[in-house]
C-alpha cells in the first residue's frame, strides 16, 4: 500500500523518541529462547532452599534472565554533526520521507520509523509527508489525491530510507556453554545492520547519500548482568553506562543526528544547484 500517512507542520514540542525499542523487543521475542523458568511462567520459590549449592544455582538461573544489549556504531553513525536536531534547520522546506519495507524492516517497523523520522523533521520546521515505499521518478507522484491540494509548492527534498541486515549471529554454541556454566559465561547474540539514506530533489536529482551502519550485541547471563550492573553502579560515568534502554537511546540519537545533518547538507546542495544556471554550467 502506498500513500502518505500524515502531513503536518512541525510546531509540536514532542520528542521523536527511539524507533528501535520495539524493533529490539521483536528480535528478542523471535530469536531468543529465554531461560526455562521465565518461559514457563513458573514462580520463583519464595522459601529459600536449604542447600547453599542449590541456592546458588537457583539464584544464578534467576539472575540468568538478565541481559545487556549494547550498540556500537560501525560506520557513518558516529560521524560528528554540526546541526542541532532540535533547531529549526528546515523551516518551511517541503519534504517527503519514503520508508521502504524489506527483509530487515517489516511493514509495521517501516511505518514506525517513518512516523518518528517525520516527527524529527517536523520539529525542525519542515512540512513532511511520509510514504511507505520507494521514491518514484516523477515529482510528488507518490502522493495521494488527498495530499496534492495541500502541497502548494513542489517537494524540495525526497528522503528514501532502506534498511539491510548485514550479519546476524544467534550463536547456539555460546548458549550451550552459558547454560553449562549456569550462565556465568554469557550467551551472545549479535547483529549488524545498515540504514541506506538517499536524498534527492523534487526532480529526482541526487543531493546526498549515506550508508549508516551499526551493530547490536546482546549478552545474556548472570555473569555479564552482575558485572555490568556493578560497573554501572560503581565506576562507569553516567554517559558510559550500558544498562536499561541506553542502546535504543544511543542508536536513535545517532540516527536522528545523522539524518538531520544529511537533510541539511542536501538543502544547501539544492541551493547550490539552483544557483547554477544552465548557461554557466557549460562552456
Amino acid at each position: 500500500m502506498r500513500g502518505g500517512e500524515r502531513l503536518a507542520r512541525g510546531r509540536s514540542t514532542l520528542r521523536p523518541g527511539p524507533f528501535v525499542d520495539q524493533n529490539l523487543r521483536r528480535r528478542w521475542k523471535s530469536q531468543v529462547t529465554l531461560p526455562p523458568h521465565t518461559n514457563t511462567g513458573a514462580p520463583i520459590p519464595t522459601r529459600l532452599p536449604r542447600s547453599p549449592a542449590a541456592a546458588l544455582v537457583l539464584s544464578g538461573l534467576a539472575l540468568g534472565s538478565g541481559c545487556v544489549t549494547v550498540y556500537q556504531p560501525l560506520s557513518g553513525l558516529q560521524q560528528p554533526v554540526v546541526v542541532d536536531p532540535t533547531a529549526p534547520n528546515l523551516s518551511d522546506v517541503r519534504m517527503a520521507v519514503y520508508c521502504v519495507p524489506g527483509p530487515a524492516l517489516s511493514r509495521w517497523e517501516t511505518n514506525k520509523l517513518c512516523q518518528r523520522v517525520s516527527t524529527l523533521f517536523e520539529h525542525q520546521g519542515a512540512l513532511v509527508t511520509t510514504v511507505e515505499g520507494p521514491a518514484a521518478d516523477g515529482e510528488d507522484d507518490a502522493l495521494t489525491d488527498d495530499e496534492r491540494p495541500v502541497m502548494e509548492a513542489p517537494i524540495a527534498l525526497r528522503m528514501e530510507l532502506r534498511s539491510r541486515d548485514l550479519y546476524t549471529n544467534n550463536a547456539s554454541l555460546s548458549w550451550a556453554i552459558s547454560l553449562m556454566t549456569a550462565t556465568v559465561l554469557p550467551a551472545v547474540e549479535e547483529s549488524a545492520f545498515a540504514v541506506d539514506v538517499v536524498i534527492r530533489d523534487g526532480s529526482g536529482f541526487l543531493l546526498a547519500s549515506e550508508s549508516l551502519q551499526g551493530r547490536l550485541i546482546t549478552r545474556y547471563g548472570v555473569g555479564t548482568w552482575a558485572a555490568n550492573r556493578a560497573a554501572d553502579t560503581y565506576w562507569r560515568r553516567e554517559d558510559q553506562r550500558l544498562f536499561g534502554d541506553i542502546s535504543s537511546h544511543d542508536l536513535s540519537e545517532d540516527l536522528y543526528r545523522q539524518l538531520s545533518q544529511l537533510a541539511y547538507n542536501a538543502r544547501v546542495q539544492r541551493q547550490v544547484l539552483e544557483a547554477r544556471a544552465p548557461a554557466e554550467a557549460r562552456p
Binding site: L74, Q78, V82, A171, I177, Q240, D250, Y264, Q271, E280
Partner: protein, 212 residues
C-alpha cells in the same frame, strides 16, 4: 574437530578483543573506531595472520569478522565540522576533482589553481593540498600559485550574498590578471557554517560555474 579444542575456542571467544562497548571497552573508546562487518575470507585477506581461515569444508560455527581502524585524533580535539570534513577529506576532494575534470573537458589543457573557502586557515590549507593531489591523480596540471584580490575587491565581495560573491570574485581574478588565460580555478567551498559537505565551483576566463 576435537571437542575440547572446540570448547577452548568457544571460551576464547569471550576474551577476544571486541570493539563493542563492554567491560573492557568504554563507549567513548568504541566510538573512536571506524568498523566494517566482513566475511571471514575477506578478513583473512585484509588482516593476514590475525584470523584462522575457513576450513576446506567450511566452519562448524557461523563466523564473521568486524574490522576496525582507529581514528587519528580523538573526538573533541577538532571542531565537529572540521572533523567531519577532514576525516573523509581524501574521498571528498577526489570526487570534486573527478567532477571538475569530467564536467569541464574544455579546460584539460589549462593549469589548475585551487582556492579553498573555509573559515579555518588550517583546514583550508589541508583542503587545498588534498585537492591539488587529487587533481594531479586525475592527470591535471596543477600550480601552487595563489589567486589574489585587491583589498577593495575583498571589501566589496565579502559583503555580497554567496550567489553573487563567487561570480564577482571570479570576474575580478580575470580582470586583475591573477587568473590568466591558460589557468582555471577550482574553488572548494563550504557554503554554510552548519553543513559538513564541500561544494566546488570553477572559474575560467572570468566566468564562474558551480559544479556541485
Amino acid at each position: 574437530m576435537n571437542p575440547f579444542a572446540l570448547l577452548a575456542a568457544a571460551l576464547l571467544a569471550y576474551v577476544r578483543p571486541d570493539p563493542a562497548p563492554g567491560l573492557l571497552m568504554s563507549k567513548e573508546r568504541s566510538r573512536q573506531l571506524e568498523c566494517a562487518v566482513v566475511t571471514t575470507q575477506a578478513a583473512v585477506e585484509r588482516r593476514p595472520g590475525q584470523l584462522a581461515p575457513e576450513g576446506s569444508r567450511g566452519d562448524m560455527a557461523d563466523r564473521g569478522a568486524v574490522l576496525c581502524s582507529e581514528r587519528l585524533l580523538r573526538a573533541g580535539l577538532r571542531a565537529p565540522r572540521d572533523e567531519a570534513i577532514l576525516s573523509t577529506l581524501e574521498l571528498r576532494v577526489s570526487e570534486l576533482a573527478a567532477t571538475a575534470v569530467s564536467v569541464r573537458p574544455d579546460l584539460s589543457d589549462r593549469t589548475w589553481r585551487v582556492e579553498p573557502f573555509h573559515p579555518s586557515a588550517q583546514v583550508s590549507a589541508k583542503i587545498a593540498f588534498a585537492t591539488k593531489n587529487a587533481l594531479m591523480a586525475h592527470g591535471a596540471a596543477v600550480s601552487d600559485r595563489l589567486v589574489t584580490l585587491a583589498a577593495g575587491d575583498v571589501d566589496v565581495i565579502t559583503r555580497m550574498a554567496p550567489d553573487l560573491a563567487y561570480p564577482a570574485a571570479c570576474a575580478r581574478y580575470a580582470a586583475n590578471g591573477s587568473l590568466g588565460e591558460g589557468d582555471a580555478l577550482l574553488a572548494v567551498v563550504l557554503r554554510d557554517p552548519l553543513e559538513t559537505a564541500l561544494h566546488a565551483g570553477v572559474c575560467a576566463d572570468g566566468r564562474w560555474s558551480w559544479l556541485r
